[in-house]
Subunit: 337 residues, 2 copies
DNA sequence: TTGTAGGCGTTATCAA
DNA sequence: TTGATAACGCCTACAA
């Protein structure tokens, strides 16, 4: 109705508006905001005052379009609500924040098709870099990624031939180390309590490989659905106790191990005397559990931190010298096995 | 050197390139991709073929700039590696994916200053909506948000005066319900094992309020750092056992409760006979723990799902009828108290 | 140190 | 049903 008070459309202030308020050109305002060292201090002050006065908030869409740098990193994980990945995600987010990037987080599930589609959609955001979980990708995905020539870090696994950069560790070796431990401790009748993802499968392969070479072939394995849950640990252990007589149960994660231990104890049996239990991950409850869980420790935060650093360095031209980072792992002997 | 093979700069194909390949205008290609129902089927086919041939990937920065809709939702949480929030985040992500949005995930920590800065930076991405954890924000943050006139959902808390929309429950009532339960069960010497965030403080207030009205004033409280960890639970319980004689320990989360229970058991005491323990959250191990943990169940996924739905509906003009969603909670009596 | 011109890749709008 | 034109808001490149 009235053309006085609300005649101004509620358009967000632009660089131009700030420039007008400051009596400068929009280019100078842009410089004052992004590269203040190239602008006279007094001018910078003027700009800052004008920004405050106008309530200006930069438009990163426009900025990214013009500069061809989005300051955006896309992160693809199989799941968020997974004790293994959350610490890595948090570390990525923290490190990226320090470097001035934002994190676009996507859940791919555990199928390749989904991941390929997701990444294609993600690329439309023109991220400056991408973090992919794992090293097994569909050929479509690989083609799209390489074609986009965007820096990529694969995490949580190891291969001599990554798409680009990589931060992880060898799951096969984890399995082997676990087998070595079992054999050294004299366990002969192992049972497996396992989730069905690719990395867990590699650990199983390494484990069974060494066991087989030592005369223990095809140990019984009970599979449980992802994500690994305490409940699945209990149920899986219950099934194992029905089908066989084991001296040790190897679990694909500490979460399962904790559930398994409770199940054993609830039957009046003792861990490790009646049946031992081994986990994976060294989650925060592993050391304090009763009995303390023997497990494989992996620095999940370092994975995220290094991944973010590698990407940011590459993007900013401080070309990373090492492209493949093996963060290793270490076996932690505690009470449960 | 040679100007034949590599003379073409590796510029990503644009709408224009697709249009040329299809013998159409870029506008028609844009329509075929976004609103195919407005384009002749045969033309759409041509476009799809040309897209495939050129390897075209849309540029959402340009699209967002032109259309003023980024298809981006910013989510701000205090922490990611927190058992309480991950399920909510995952649910938001899942629901947003279905609706065609991407999630920008930011970690604010537990200080208001950080959150205000983060949101300002986030707004530069021109998100179509924002999810904020909690209802306590700095006045700066509120001003910026309202000024940007972007849809907001606050989650995990309840207030009659949200910034905009809200999905959560009353922490004070959770505390009251817990107190009611304690009193009904005849517990008279409660101790508290608590983290120091705002929402936990509200639960404590509700709890102490009811207790005080029943003659139990200022129960001893041991505070532990965030995030709530199994280890903190054990340590906190150890301190409690040193400073007093309690018949029940109320914990601000199941994670602490689980640690507390183990600590009690490791001393040869029994839960709940020697000391009872109550948790909060009904995390996945609560029901299967030995003893099963008496706790308050909150549907963490629903919070995320409803928040995402509210936002998407609002953005797409299907104006949400209810702006404040109280998802409630329910007390779950099990064995530990 | 500051300013001008032009383009980044897409979509809204209007015309055909 | 399709196309031409003009933004969208910023930054690169160059000039002054």
């Amino acid at each position: 109705m009235s053309k006085t008070s609300r005649s101004v459309p509620p358009r967000a202030p632009t660089l131009e508006d700030v420039a007008r308020a400051a009596g400068l050109s929009s280019m100078t305002v842009s410089r004052a905001l992004n590269t203040p060292q190239l602008v006279r201090p007094k001018t910078v002050e003027k700009v800052i005052a004008a920004v405050k006065a106008t309530g200006y908030i930069p438009n990163a869409l426009a900025g990214g379009l013009a500069s061809r740098r989005s300051k955006l990193i896309a992160v693809v994980v199989p799941q968020i609500n997974n004790n293994m990945f959350v610490d890595t995600i948090q570390a990525i987010s923290d490190e990226l924040a320090v470097r001035g990037y934002h994190m676009l987080l996507c859940v791919a599930g555990y199928t390749q098709q989904t991941e390929a589609e997701l990444v294609a959609a993600l690329l439309s955001r023109r991220p400056d870099g991408i973090v992919l979980t794992g090293i097994h990708h569909s050929t479509d995905l690989k083609k799209v990624i390489l074609n986009a020539s965007v820096p990529v870090v694969e995490i949580w696994d190891l291969t001599p031939t990554p798409l680009d950069m990589l931060v992880g560790f060898s799951h096969e070796k984890v399995g082997q180390a676990t087998a070595d431990y079992l054999l050294r401790k004299g366990y002969r009748r192992p049972g497996l309590l396992w989730t069905v993802d690719k990395r867990a499968a590699q650990r199983k392969a390494g484990l069974c490989d060494v066991l087989a070479r030592n005369g223990i072939t095809e140990p019984v394995s009970v599979d449980v659905a992802l994500p690994a849950r305490f409940t699945s640990g209990r149920e899986g252990m219950a099934r194992l106790l029905e089908v066989g007589d084991f001296d040790v149960i190897v679990c694909s994660s500490d979460t399962l191990a904790q559930g398994a231990i409770i199940e054993v104890q609830s039957r009046g049996l003792r861990v490790p005397q009646d049946v031992a239990v081994i986990g994976f991950g060294d989650l925060d409850f592993a050391a304090g559990n009763q009995p303390a869980i023997t497990t494989v420790s992996v620095d999940r935060q370092i994975i995220g931190q290094r991944a973010a650093t590698l990407l940011a360095d590459r993007i900013e031209g401080n070309s990373a010298n090492e492209q493949i980072v093996d963060i290793g792992f270490h076996f932690v002997e505690r009470e449960s096995a």
